[in-house]
Amino acid sequence: MADNKEKPGTPSPGRRNFLRDSTLITALSLTPGAVLKAASEKADERFAELFEKIPLRLTVNGQAHALSVEPRVTLLDLLREQLKLTGTKKGCDHGQCGACTVHVDGERVNSCLSLAVMNEGKEVTTIEGLAREGELHPMQAAFIKHDGFQCGYCTPGQIMSAIACIREGHARTRDEIREYMSGNICRCGAYPHIVDAIEEVQKTGGKI
């Protein structure tokens, strides 16, 4: 295998080059020379912000936000890194674990698979938005009562999923709860206790 030398890949165009090229095409009405000069003087980041961020209006936990975000930012990273709502967790970034589950217009969504800009005008509820006036949501209380977690990392996603599971009408039996909660992985293995908590909240029959 000694002769098996791997060559570095073809250099990808740098962002700066891209900006320089695209400004040539799209910004002819501006003074091209000035733009190029600005780009080469490292002012390109400010241009990038202008060109590459787009406005986003959405409501999170009842609070309206008017934001400017890059289209590549996921809803999960927007919540955690920009809005500082770190209750929503990053577990895989692939929609395979459910730790990032939030409600968008009342439905459970893996926020790592949703680009922030896809949520224009929508209402997002995170784990931080459940407790009202210091009173725990019944599902939060039930998770504590039944010890439906250990390390707590998957817990916000489990609780958001659990509430949606009942609202969807998918919590009529223990087996049905198991099936419809299987998108939320708990590596500590608290599953039976999670089912206990959901079953209890379902049986109380209150509006959740």
Partner: protein, 713 residues
């Protein structure tokens, strides 16, 4: 001994509200001014050298502050010394394994760092490598530590002369910890010689020590915070190279740097349970007395660092047998180094030993429970000491009753339910019960509230909940008035959370500091003309004290040399095996814990339940599949590496013997983290045999193996 403990009625987890409201903050969730984001660039070859590292485009990308690599890393004292680790991140151009970090991009946003990392160009010179464990069993490295090497008492290979014997080979693939929280670290330098990190660690003092050594700082100049840890299972018992690299990056950019690795990187840079090969020989007399146990083990390790766990340990003492011989070795491969994973060594060994015990019992036509009871020793024949506490016969009995063992049929493949074949299995699990040294500070405030502090950790079992309950029991005050602070390296020292020793070690220190506090308060009461048992708040008020503080170190004594101390578990399972598809469903589980006094029943039950679920994964689905042509894991995500999900898991009954160990510590309580999982996989394998007559000796027990195997009876 436990009579003096009046534990409060079952306490909810003390940090439960923080965890269900999203207020609990894990390492990546601290917002520091000027925070920057790191993303790793990893090796795409398995062995060789970096010949070219072009960071120009990455460095020029918007928002990028630095690209750290072996070309520009800051001088790092611990890496310059000969005693430093073999694998030093960003230190040389050497590649030891596929997925090894070769560069780190730091930018002002996560997205910009991710994009820029894709612009780093790496050229390599490849060398021949070997990552094939099964094909390398003849390339064994003997352990350096003789205690881990060969063991013999009585005659070697006595099983070969026995009236009835079995001999078989058992294999386990690489299993990964994969806690839900991704690994990483958040680091910043407060000054040229002062470092603060928010870490994901099972030991803040251990992390502090490693960082201090690596960066040539006095330990007190390194501050480690790790209050909430999103699971560990052993992988956070060391400070990994990626953490060192992030601290280097923070030094280079002069700002806080946060690294959160990706899920696929969790398969290559933070350890695993190594693949293992084991050969077991067991012999018995016709009446079922064990006369010989032979256990050989080989496990995967890395070429740059030896890792070896105690796989054959259980074979030396679990059963009353005069003739035992064991050997252990490692097979170094061009892969990243493994690390202890829940039930380290013992879980691997127990799969083989407890499967073989079942095989021998079957050959003797004995109920495997009767066989175990018959060979349950009164003393530890390895250490030649009495057990401090062991109630296995009671545990077997109670578990058997709960699972309905009487419904099991000794002859396999007799019970069916439509297309499903039904079987029952049992196994034993064990792990050493330890008490190490810990120091706890207790501060009783004027309002009667108590704050306890120790640099302990909680990766999920509920450390603070247990500690609060112990303090409440000693002091006779409500658990709700007590706070236990942990996860901060500046607090009085405690050992790492590993080897099921936190409750015993830190719990004993909590007990001792509270007793001392109680003594001091009585003295203060009497001196102030109060009754010795006056309310604490009154005592402080009368003495005009804003608070009373006591700090105490506590550790085990002579009892540790006198007794052999272990926690035990018995796992009973009922399985259903689908006749046509080979699918195995675990339909019922009863786990019995014999781990001394149970301090916190609610969290203890969760720990046993969680161990059983982890054991299900080990038994049925978990396998990191390596393509040895490339040295890469091909199922490095949760879609392809299957951990149990809710629909896989039945209701789990947990039974505790709940009798205090009279010797280990004042509470009589022992650890349970490891025994919750140890042995579970064998119970499943034994149940599959009982259901089908097929003996699967290779984990995980996937449908293809079940279908391919022919019934042995």
């Amino acid at each position: 001994m436990s009579e003096k403990f009046l534990f409060p009625d079952d306490t909810d987890r003390v940090d439960g509200v923080a965890k269900v409201t999203g207020k609990a903050r894990y390492f990546a969730e601290f917002d520091l001014p000027g925070l920057t984001y790191a993303v790793l660039v990893t090796s795409s070859i398995t062995k060789g050298r970096i010949t070219q590292l072009n960071t120009r485009n990455a460095a020029r990308a918007p928002g990028v502050l630095a690209v750290v690599s072996h070309l520009n890393r800051p001088v790092t004292a611990g890496y310059e010394s000969k005693e430093g680790p073999a694998m030093r991140i960003f230190y040389t151009d050497r590649i030891f394994f596929n997925g090894q970090p070769v560069a780190m991009v730091v930018a002002d946003t996560f997205e910009r760092a991710t994009h820029a990392a894709s612009l780093v160009e790496v050229g390599y010179e490849k060398e021949a490598f070997n990552t094939d464990f099964d094909g390398s069993l003849d390339q064994v490295k003997k352990p350096k530590n003789p205690a881990q090497g060969a063991y013999q008492r009585g005659e070697a290979d006595a099983y070969k002369q026995a009236a009835v014997s079995v001999e078989a080979t058992y294999t386990l693939p690489v299993e990964t910890h994969n806690p839900m929280e991704l690994h990483g670290i958040l680091a910043f330098w407060n000054a040229a010689d002062k470092l603060t990190v928010y870490a994901k660690t099972q030991g803040v003092k251990a992390t502090q020590g490693t960082l201090a050594r690596t960066f040539g700082l006095p330990a007190e100049n390194v501050q480690v915070f790790s209050e909430f840890v999103g699971g560990g299972f052993g992988m956070a018992l060391r400070t990994w190279p990626l953490e060192i690299g992030t601290v280097m990056a923070a030094k280079l950019v002069g700002r806080p740097v946060k690294l959160v690795i990706t899920r696929d990187q969790m398969f290559t840079m933070v350890g695993n349970r190594p693949a293992a090969w084991q050969k077991i020989g067991l012999g018995a007399s016709r009446n079922g007395r064990l006369t010989g146990i032979t256990h050989h083990s080989l496990a995967q390790s890395s070429v740059y660092e030896d890792f070896m766990e105690n796989i054959t340990g259980m074979s030396k003492f679990m059963y009353g047998c005069e003739n035992v011989n064991t050997t252990s070795g490692i097979v170094p491969l061009d892969l990243s180094v493994p690390i202890w994973m829940r039930g380290p060594g013992e879980a691997t060994g127990a799969f083989a030993l407890e499967s073989a015990i079942d095989e021998l019992a079957f050959k003797l036509n004995m109920d495997p429970l009767d066989f175990r009871v018959l060979n349950d020793p009164e003393t530890d024949l390895e250490k030649n000491k009495p057990f401090s506490d062991k109630n296995l016969k009671e545990a077997y009995k109670r578990g058997a009753q709960a699972i309905g063992w009487k419904n099991r049929v000794q002859r396999p493949a007799q019970l069916t339910e439509g297309d499903w074949q039904i079987g029952y299995g049992v196994s034993t699990g064990v792990f050493g019960a330890f008490r190490r040294s810990a120091t706890v500070r207790a501060v009783l405030n004027a309002d009667g509230s108590l704050v306890l502090q120790s640099a302990a950790s909680d990766i999920g079992p509920g450390t603070a909940t247990g500690m609060v309950r112990i303090a409440a029991g000693v002091l006779g005050i409500p658990a709700s008035s007590i706070t236990f602070e942990l996860g901060d390296s500046s607090l009085p020292p405690a050992p790492s959370q590993g080897g099921s020793s936190t409750l015993s070690t830190v719990g004993a220190a909590v007990n001792d500091v509270c007793l001392q506090l109680l003594g001091n308060l009585k003295e203060l009461a009497v001196n102030a003309g109060l009754k010795a048992d006056a309310p604490f708040a009154d005592i402080l008020k009368k003495n005009n004290l804003p608070y009373v503080e006591v700090t105490k170190e506590s550790k085990g004594g002579a009892e540790q040399a006198k007794y052999s101390m272990y926690s035990f578990s018995i796992h009973f399972v009922q399985v259903k095996v689908h006749r046509r598809t080979g699918v195995v469903k675990v339909s019922r589980i009863v786990s019995v814990g014999d781990a001394g006094k149970i301090v916190s029943p609610k969290t203890a039950k969760s720990q046993m339940v969680g161990g059983a679920v982890g054991g299900m994964g080990m038994a049925l689905t978990e396998e990191a599949v390596l393509d040895s042509r490339y040295g890469r894991y091909i199922n490095n995500n949760f879609g392809d590496y299957h951990v149990p999900v809710n629909a896989d898991v039945p209701d789990i009954e947990v039974i505790f013997i709940d009798k205090p160990d009279p010797h280990i510590n004042p509470m009589g309580a022992k650890g349970m983290g490891e025994i919750a999982l140890t042995g579970f996989s064998a119970a499943v394998a034994n149940a599959v045999f009982n259901a089908t007559g097929k003996r699967i000796r290779s984990l995980p027990i996937t449908p293809d193996k079940v279908l391919q195997e022919t019934a042995g009876v």
